[in-house]
């Protein structure tokens, strides 16, 4: 598990930080890496895999906010260990700097080096816990103004549309003191669900899956203990049954196929009352990841109809029905459908009164695109029409984000913070969001 070097490169290939831990890899590894990544195969579209080997040196990289986080080693190490480590390093640095980008890196490179020295010693990982690192790291981060940056992390999706959430919260450094004086006591618990659904041509659900994460970011001072209560009817594991016969099990309760937990989580009372207790370390981390294939109600039903209208012409009707409560608003919705290669023209008809909608035919990749800024049940358009294509099109795919809504029905019933005093009442943010991972309707 020895890392030789760690470095961060900008999109242009500039060194932002570079640390050599074992002096085993010849000079020029950053250039070698960058050349390889940039010109992976002649095909410009082929992306380099996260792990490759050049002249006996293994290069691992993850891309975070457009920066390359790279580790090299000559040893046959566990690939997931190194990739996980790179991801963690990025998270630790983000915890410290508040925001992660080239600018914040350059302003804080001494701090970053300080962190790197404590994270890895002679190639061996020492710790990646922001909590632990706090006692070894002394540089104060120079925080850059969050207004100048693009939201990059999953939590940034909360900032779209929903006014009730403080948009800057996710970009605060966990260690820096607020210039205005005392830091705000608050904690964020985000339930993020990515859903994958495949509809058959007749509209039946062929496969459906939810990949969920309960993400936590704590700005509470003094690390108080926290209890999170989940649904009492939560079940884990499907027993001996195959994952494919779940359609027969329309019983009540939330049934997760599987889940895993962060190190800090104690499951002492999880079996009895479905509560997780933990002393959250500083920084952002997943409390729990879960996976569910239990039947759920997809937020959108997609129905596509193709009718041939003449020999070289066809009419496509795409109907989308929203199936979530009326007080919920979905945003940044796009619907895509590949059309046959020989499609020459497409014309659109949107339902009357369709404001904030756009439809387009992308000539280069023969892609039909229909986008909606936002939609709720009332405002949701039912269909639009395309003509002039023949068959061999599809499938229709959708992307969307639905804040304050999750399909699994997994809930944080309460979030209890061990009280330090009667007046101690930190802000608690429990936020839900559903995103399309792969939302496909066959034709």
């Amino acid at each position: 598990m020895m890392i030789s070097q760690f470095f961060v490169l900008s999109q242009r290939g500039d060194n932002i930080v570079f640390r050599d831990y074992r002096a085993e890899v010849p000079k020029g590894s950053t250039e070698t890496f960058f050349r390889k990544v940039k010109f992976w195969k002649e095909d410009a579209n082929a992306e380099a895999p996260p792990i490759f080997n050049v002249d006996g040196v293994n290069y691992f990289h993850v891309k975070v906010v457009g920066l390359y986080f790279v580790a090299t080693t000559r040893v046959n190490v566990s690939p997931s260990l190194v990739l996980e480590l790179l991801q963690r390093i990025a998270r630790v640095i983000k915890d410290y700097l508040g925001v992660l980008n080239e600018d914040s890196f350059r302003k804080n490179f001494v701090l970053v080096y300080e962190l790197l020295d404590e994270v890895i010693d002679f190639g061996y990982v020492q710790t990646t816990s922001t909590e632990v690192l706090k006692s070894y790291v002394f540089n104060e981060p120079i925080v850059i103004a969050p207004a100048r940056l693009q939201p990059i992390d999953p939590a940034a999706i909360f900032t779209q549309g929903a006014k009730r959430m403080p948009g800057t919260a996710v970009t605060k450094s966990v260690v820096a003191n607020d210039p205005s004086g005392r830091r705000r006591e608050e904690i964020f618990v985000d339930i993020i669900e990515k859903i994958s659904v495949t509809f058959s041509s007749s509209g039946y659900i062929l496969t459906s899956e939810i990949d969920g994460t309960i993400q936590m970011k704590s700005y509470l001072s003094g690390n108080p203990e926290i209890r999170i209560a989940l649904n009492e009817d939560l079940n884990i594991g499907r027993g001996g049954r195959s994952v494919y016969d779940y359609r027969s099990s329309s019983g009540s309760g939330v049934i997760l196929d599987d889940c895993n937990f962060h190190e800090s989580v104690r499951l002492d009372s999880f079996d009895s009352d479905r509560t997780l207790s933990l002393v959250p370390p500083d920084g952002e981390f997943p409390v729990m990841n879960y996976r569910m294939t239990q039947e759920f109600k997809p937020p959108f039903h997609v129905n596509t109809l193709i009718e041939e209208a003449g020999r070289l012409k066809a009419e496509v009707i795409i109907k989308i029905r929203a199936e979530f409560p009326s007080d919920i608003i979905a945003n940044t919705i796009t619907v895509q459908m590949p059309l046959p290669n020989f499609t020459s023209r497409a014309s659109f008809e949107l339902e009357p009164g369709a404001a904030g909608q756009k439809s387009d035919f992308k000539e280069t990749n023969k892609m039909l695109e229909w986008s909606l800024k936002k939609a709720s049940v009332e405002s949701f358009p039912r269909s639009f029409m395309v003509s002039n294509i023949t068959k061999e099109a599809g499938p229709v795919s959708m992307t969307f984000t639905i804040p304050m809504y999750n399909v699994s029905k997994l809930q944080v019933k309460y979030l209890q913070i061990a009280k330090k005093s009667s007046s101690y009442n930190p802000y608690r943010w429990v936020r839900y969001v559903t995103q399309a991972n792969s939302y496909v309707a066959r034709i």
């Binding site: 002096a23 996260p50 040893v75 690939p79 997931s80 996980e84 001494v110 816990s129 895993n260 962060h262």
Partner: protein, 797 residues
């Protein structure tokens, strides 16, 4: 820091050119160095930052070394850290300058602030200046005894750094012993983890030339130590847990209770959010249960869910790593679901994939069941694909014929239109005619419709099947065979015509000869030409949770020997030494570095001398005097009388003809004449390598080894001696219980025609797997017989 030379090649116009700025910095630093004024630390911080930022972008700031060191006399820890960073970067390039720093670093090592003690010690050990190692001993020694765990953690890694600067200094100071005691007694988990990491690295590197180090390395895998770590695994952070799990993978459990104990201890690690921990645990589970087929299968079931969760919860890069592993494990159930898919191509592909797994795998039982279920689905294309698979499966695992035949017999040939599937069905009808009551009649039916059969492949199979059926059930088949031969001879397709004619003539000549030719006793095919070598697959499986899985290559194919990691399996095969056997009266078996890189792949000339000197005491070393050997070989080759006493060419070689359809039917070798081998054969190891690379595997078989043989195998040299007495010479060997690997060669007595054999003996299953490659492939069966006979006598009085 980026190497200055590298980055200065690309000066960006916005960057300062360097010279004047550095001079500026130098004078400013000088001014501050002696100052005790308030606020001076802040100004120093700014200057230090500037220096370091220059250093980062590649400007050479080594000229301010002296000033930096002077300025670092401060209690400001941020300043200290920056200074250490700077010093660490330039010390190696400027040994003279680093002498300057030794003094202040040594002083800081005694600071009352543990943070400064630790940081100074880390910097001191990171200087990497060989002639300064003596200055490290004192601070390291006290660092290991420091009452602060942060300092101890750093000191432990410092010992490893010292080892890499000067191994002898480190060993002579007996630091490893101190680490060992810290590992067992320290209260801080990170100190313990670093001790483990350092000791693993040190002992692995020492093991090549020190018996004691070998023992120490082994002792890391002792039962008490493994349990010591596993019992308290939760005290360690996730990265140290991975280290411990990697160690546990190498542990050889004493019995099944041992295995279950460990699995119970680690069960909850599968629920860890860190994919590295989960994969390391999976590897432990898979390795532990290798010998227990049922439990092993349960493990597969158990790990499926956690791995799938990891795939979906991590970043795309992490998913990539996990998916590469899933690719290796292949979730079979998942694939089977696709067989019922409406998309025909997907269905076909998934059936093919299932079949591929069946041909390579482990749990054939379950797969056969699934395949038979496919047949019952009664969809044309599913049936078609499956039939082809069942045929291949039967060729490899004839023991399943009864289960398969009952199902296959129920399939109406009318429903099968695809030539490949039809051919497969016909092949099975011929092959298993005695078990399928309808076989002659189905064949008769097919033959009657000869004219309508458009595929030459099917017609060829029909001819052969009719022949086979005839040998088994002559009265019922005679008529249709006649029709088939007549139709075949009249066939416009050249191959069909030729085969029919040949069958006809050989039948005329002698029915028994014909039977021997067309329907020899079946021999299981152990490897199909198109599947990836199962050896490589196994190797990759052994290296689960490593880059081997990502690259789909065993580690020796992409890693230098010294970088394979302390406990790599491929190394382990060679970790117990089988000392070169010396027998005086014959040419000694030449042993050499036989890791597979040399044997199979690399044509690069390895530095032989280096191999000799640095690998003393390691596995495969042996004298390697190629010039000497080759001259001996020449001599031998010439001296061999060119008598044609024993040729082993079997009288007829129908390979080609039958190869059209039934290529796997081995060339018949009716009681092969005993092959005479040259007792004084010699082969240059290099020539062996080359041949091993070039020749195809002509035979691959599995033999049982008798218990006496297994018992005698405790001294692997005895097998080498034994085989030599049968004129089969060992060229390389290695391994340890239960897996031993030997490379043998033999030579025909009469002519310089070589047989190369790889022989893997598993002493727990008492099986020997051999792969034979031969110059004269027609005699490899004869050679295998000799080999088997010799092997069967091993251990017998």
């Amino acid at each position: 820091m980026p190497p200055p030379a590298a980055s200065s090649r690309y000066p960006s116009p916005s960057q300062p050119s360097g010279k004047s700025e550095v001079t500026d910095l130098k004078s400013q630093l000088r001014q501050l160095a002696g100052s005790r004024a308030p606020g001076v630390d802040d100004s120093k911080r700014d200057l230090f930052k500037k220096v370091i930022s220059y250093m980062t972008i590649g400007i050479d700031v080594s000229s301010v070394f002296g000033e930096m060191v002077m300025c670092s006399a401060t209690s400001d820890i941020v300043l200290k850290k920056m200074c250490y960073l700077y010093v660490g970067n330039y010390a190696k390039g400027n040994p003279d300058l680093s002498l300057l720093t030794i003094n202040f670093l040594q002083r800081d090592c005694k600071d009352e602030d543990p943070m400064i003690r630790g940081l100074a010690l880390r910097s001191l050990c990171s200087l990497r200046v060989p002639n300064l190692v003596e200055y490290l001993l004192g601070p390291l020694g006290s660092g290991l005894k420091d009452n602060n765990s942060y300092v101890r953690t750093i000191a432990v890694t410092g010992v490893l750094k010292l080892y890499h600067i000067s191994a002898s200094t480190c060993i002579d100071a007996e630091f490893p012993a101190t680490l060992k005691s810290l590992m067992l007694h320290d209260s801080d988990a990170q100190v313990v983890a670093n001790c483990l990491a350092a000791l693993q690295e040190i002992w692995s590197l020492e093991a090549s030339h020190s018996e004691e180090a070998c023992r120490e390395k082994e002792s890391l895998l002792s039962k008490p130590l493994i349990y010591y770590f596993l019992n308290r695994i939760k005290e360690f952070n996730e990265w140290a847990q991975c280290l411990i799990l990697e160690l546990a993978v190498k542990y050889v459990p004493s019995d099944s209770n041992d295995i279950f104990d460990i699995m119970n201890l680690l069960e909850d690690r599968l629920q860890h959010a860190n994919g590295a921990v989960v994969l390391a645990t999976v590897k432990v589970f898979l390795q532990l249960t290798l010998s227990m087929t049922d439990v092993h299968q349960q493990v597969y079931e158990r790990i499926k869910s956690p791995l799938l969760t990891l795939v979906s919860s991590g970043s795309p890069e992490q998913s990539y790593a996990i998916l590469s592993h899933l690719h290796l494990l292949v979730v079979l159930t998942e694939l089977c679901e696709y067989a019922a898919n409406v998309d025909i191509e997907i269905a076909r592909e998934s059936i093919r994939a299932v079949g591929k797994i069946a041909l390579q795998q482990y749990d054939v039982n379950a797969i056969v069941d699934r395949l038979l279920q496919f047949l019952e689905m009664e969809k044309d294309y599913v049936t078609a694909e499956t039939l082809v698979l069942v045929k291949d499966l039967l060729r490899k695992h004839p023991q399943w014929s009864h289960d398969c035949i009952s199902v296959v017999g129920g399939i109406s040939s009318k429903n099968i239109q695809e030539p490949k599937a039809k051919a497969a069905l016909i092949w099975m009808l011929g092959e298993y005619a005695q078990d399928m009551s309808d076989a002659p009649y189905i064949l008769e039916n097919l033959i009657e419709n000869w004219e309508e059969e458009h595929s030459a492949e099917v017609r060829l199979h029909l001819l052969t099947a009719a022949m086979k059926c005839f040998f088994k059930r002559a009265p019922e088949t005679q008529k249709s065979l006649g029709i088939a031969l007549a139709a075949g001879i009249a066939d416009f397709h050249q191959d069909v015509h030729d085969r029919a004619l040949f069958y006809y003539r050989v039948l005329q000549y002698d029915v028994h000869v014909a039977e021997r030719v067309v329907s020899p006793p079946q021999q299981a095919v152990s490897a199909f030409a198109d599947t990836q070598s199962s050896e490589i697959k196994d190797r990759i499986f052994d290296e689960f949770n490593s880059l081997s899985v990502i690259y789909q290559k065993p580690s020796y194919m992409f890693t230098d020997k010294e970088h394979r990691g302390p406990f790599e399996f491929s190394d382990e095969l060679g970790s117990t030494s089988i000392t070169p056997e010396v027998s005086s009266d014959i040419v000694p078996a030449q042993q050499f570095e036989a890791n597979d890189k040399d044997l199979l792949l690399s044509t690069d000339e390895k530095d032989d001398n280096k191999g000799l000197s640095s690998n003393n005491g390691s596995a495969y070393t042996a004298p390697y005097e190629s010039s000497n050997i080759s001259s001996q070989m020449q001599e031998l080759a010439i001296s061999g009388p060119a008598a044609s006493a024993t040729t082993t060419q079997s009288s007829f070689d129908f390979d080609d003809l039958l190869g059209l359809g039934l290529s796997t039917a081995p060339a018949p070798t009716p009681s092969p004449p005993l092959l005479k081998l040259n007792a004084r054969a010699a082969l240059d190891p290099r020539a062996f390598q080359q041949k091993w690379r070039q020749l195809p595997i002509s035979l691959s078989q599995e033999y049982s080894v008798n218990p006496q043989g297994i018992a005698a195998l405790t001294v692997p040299q005895s097998l080498i001696k034994h085989m030599q007495s049968h004129s089969i010479h060992c060229i390389a060997s290695g391994g340890q219980s239960p897996n031993f690997k030997f490379f043998f060669f033999a030579q025909k007595e009469a002519e310089p025609s070589d047989y190369l054999t790889e022989c893997i003996i598993n002493s727990s299953s008492a099986k020997a797997q051999i792969k034979v490659k031969a110059d004269d492939q027609s005699t490899s069966q004869a050679f295998a017989t000799v080999f088997e006979t010799a092997l069967s006598k091993f251990g017998m009085p």
